[in-house]
């Protein structure tokens, strides 16, 4: 006759079968799914490495081409840079360079005076201001000029076209003009104009 402990053991064995069977199933599914997805990822990464190897070879060729193109033309680029920098220094000089501007105004006066009345009676410079945000500075200039009407228009043209590499005249803009026409004139048919001009001359750091 079986006793109680024997029965318990038999029952325990039955329970173990169920539990282990269940655990095996769960672990099999979990490990299987994990392994499957990770394997896919592994294969993707391996493919990616092969793709990257091809890309690296192509990019190295492109890099060689770009480097060659750059260094082949570098001398020309540097020469152009130097030219631009030199010309830029005339039209947008480093610092307010008011003495150079004064010389330019004298040269303009001399040029216009040859074809008619043009006289700069005075030039006053204000305090230069540099705007970091805009990247350039402004030098206020006030001038009083007596001129024929034709020369007045020519002078305006010069100011309006200043800052060109062609004429190397300093970049300027007119802030205000007050002009007065005089009756009669030095040359027949030509009025004399007296004008007070305020303009901004620009510079870089």
């Amino acid at each position: 006759m079986e006793n109680l402990s024997y029965k318990l053991i038999v029952q325990h064995q039955a329970t173990q079968k169920k539990v282990y069977a269940f655990l095996c199933l769960v672990i099999l599914i979990a490990v299987g799914a994990y392994s499957y997805f990770q394997w896919q990822k592994y294969l993707n990464v391996k493919d990616g490495i092969m793709t990257d190897d091809v890309a690296i070879a192509e990019l190295n060729n492109s890099l060689t081409d770009e480097k060659n193109a750059y260094f082949t033309n570098k001398a020309n680029f540097d020469a152009l840079n130097k030219t631009i920098d030199g010309n830029s220094s005339n039209i947008l000089p480093k610092g307010d360079q008011y003495t150079e501007l004064t010389r330019q105004m004298d040269a303009i006066e001399d040029e216009l005076h040859k074809v008619g009345a043009f006289e700069i009676s005075n030039i006053d410079y204000g305090s230069p201001v540099f705007d970091e945000a805009l990247g350039f500075g402004t030098l206020p200039v006030r001038m009083n000029i007596k001129s024929s009407q034709e020369n007045f228009i020519k002078f305006l043209h010069m100011m309006e076209t200043s800052g060109s590499f062609a004429n190397t005249l300093r970049l300027m803009s007119i802030s205000s003009i007050r002009l007065t026409f005089e009756k009669g004139g030095i040359m027949s048919g030509s009025k004399m104009i007296t004008f007070s001009l305020q303009l901004n001359a620009y510079f870089q750091k």
Partner: protein
């Protein structure tokens, strides 16, 4: 077993007498009642004088303790299941370990100690190598683009000046013809440098990367920023670091290189400029369209030319304004020339006042007529000024007159008016072009305003 009468267990008796005595009486039922038998029987039941003896000994008792020690046999299935469980656990750990070593950095120490390759790290390293090579490509490419754009802007400077001379209201015919010819001569040079710059700018900045798992934030090898931005940042960083190396140099060539690197960095990621440059069909541009394109490219490129261009954009051409005032005056006074006033009267200005900041213009003068209609002349002048495309807000609220029928009548005039805000429109268009993504062909405006024409409307 003692006293085994039947001798079944201990062996048969060895002599006849004993045999006779031991003979089972049941073997001879006929003689069962015989006295021999009775003696035998007596002998069977009595022996050595002992009375009431059992044939068999007491039945053996079952020793329960033995049974208690006997366990049920081990279940083979349980053993198998345990083994399977163990194998699966080991397999799971092995699987995790393998993939952790290959695809993550959890076991980085083991990778390093045992020199086991990690392919995810290898992929990441190769991606970084691609980024590095592409960054170097971009570095040289954008230095070239910057140089070609500089050439374009430099050659375009004379084009712009000639265009403005050609379109100025106060230029002489000789100057206009000369300017027109210069514009035509400079076109081939402009085309060459423009196409060279575009060839570099429209090439892609980035390269496709095989990403391990961008969406998995726990992936240590995932790229944290968008791939395109990574290339842009890398290229800008390299250019700026090169510039920083030269920042404090006093050598003239080094200073030029410093600017080159900085301006090239400004071009990287400048999508507005790239799109404008890509959209322009150079051969189909008219003179005005080319003029607008040059201004827009200069504004967007963010370099010395853009600074110069910005200043020029907001310059007011006062010579043309004076000319426009004269034209408007002629409408009010058909005899208006500066030399006819003394003879025929009309309008004469004694002073002008122009102010760029407030955009205000004031004209002071007088009008003289032989009849009394000086106020009409002034009113006509005010209306004429207000009808101009350049002016607005012309007014004079107080009129006075003096004179006589003999000498004629004279009225002083003092009219203030304003420039229309065309500059703001130009500025807004430039800002809109810089911020919009251009997907269509540019809408090249044909408006030829005095301030230099309209920008490419996009």
């Amino acid at each position: 077993m003692a006293n085994t009468i039947t001798g079944t267990l201990e062996g048969a008796p060895e002599n006849p007498e004993e045999n006779k005595q031991n003979r089972n009486p049941l073997d001879n039922p006929g003689t069962a009642n015989k006295s021999d038998d009775s003696d035998f029987i007596k002998n069977l039941v009595s022996e050595s004088g002992a009375k009431n003896q059992n044939i068999l000994e007491a039945a053996p008792e079952v020793d329960q303790s033995l049974i208690e020690e006997v366990a049920p046999p081990a279940s083979v299935l349980v053993v198998l299941l345990k083994a399977a469980f163990g194998l699966l656990v080991i397999g799971g750990i092995a699987s995790f370990g393998f993939f952790a070593l290959q695809l993550t950095d959890y076991l980085q120490v083991i990778n390093q100690r045992l020199d086991i390759p990690n392919i995810a790290a290898d992929l990441s390293a190769k991606n970084q190598e691609i980024v590095s090579i592409q960054t170097n490509i971009n570095f040289y490419r954008y230095l070239q683009a910057k140089a070609y754009l500089d050439k374009f802007s430099y050659d375009a400077d004379s084009y712009i000046q000639n265009y403005e001379i050609y379109n100025s209201l106060t230029s002489s015919k000789a100057d206009r013809d000369k300017a027109k010819q210069a514009m035509a001569d400079s076109r081939p040079l402009l085309k060459e440098s423009f196409l060279a710059a575009r060839g570099k700018l429209i090439l892609p900045l980035s390269h496709s990367l095989v990403v391990n798992n961008v969406s998995d934030s726990s992936d240590p090898f995932a790229i944290s920023v968008s791939p395109d931005q990574q290339f842009i940042d890398g290229t800008v960083g390299k250019l700026r670091s090169k510039a920083d190396e030269l920042a404090n140099s006093t050598d003239a060539a080094a200073k030029l290189d410093y600017k080159n690197y900085l301006y090239a960095a400004n071009l990287v990621g400048n999508n507005a400029l790239r799109q404008i440059v890509a959209a322009i069909d150079f051969d189909k541009l008219s003179d005005e369209e080319l003029y607008d394109a040059i201004r827009l490219v200069d504004l967007l490129a963010v370099n010395d030319f853009s600074i110069i261009q910005k200043i020029k954009e907001f310059r007011v051409k006062w010579s043309d304004i004076i000319h426009e005032i004269d034209l408007r005056t002629i409408i009010a006074d058909e005899n208006y020339t500066k030399d006819n006033y003394d003879s025929y009267g009309g309008i004469r200005y004694t002073s002008y006042s122009f102010d760029t900041d407030s955009r205000q213009i004031s004209v002071v003068g007088e009008t003289r007529k032989n009849d009394t209609t000086t106020f009409t002349t002034i009113s006509n002048l005010i209306d004429s000024l207000n009808k101009s495309e350049l002016f607005e807000g012309a007014e004079m609220r107080s009129f006075s007159k003096s004179g006589s029928d003999l000498e004629g009548y004279t009225s002083s005039l003092r009219i203030s008016f304003y420039l229309k805000n065309l500059d703001q429109e130009v500025q807004n268009q430039a800002a809109a072009a810089a911020s919009q993504n251009v997907t269509n062909e540019p809408d090249l405006s044909e408006d030829d305003s005095m301030m230099g024409g309209d920008l490419l409307g996009m």
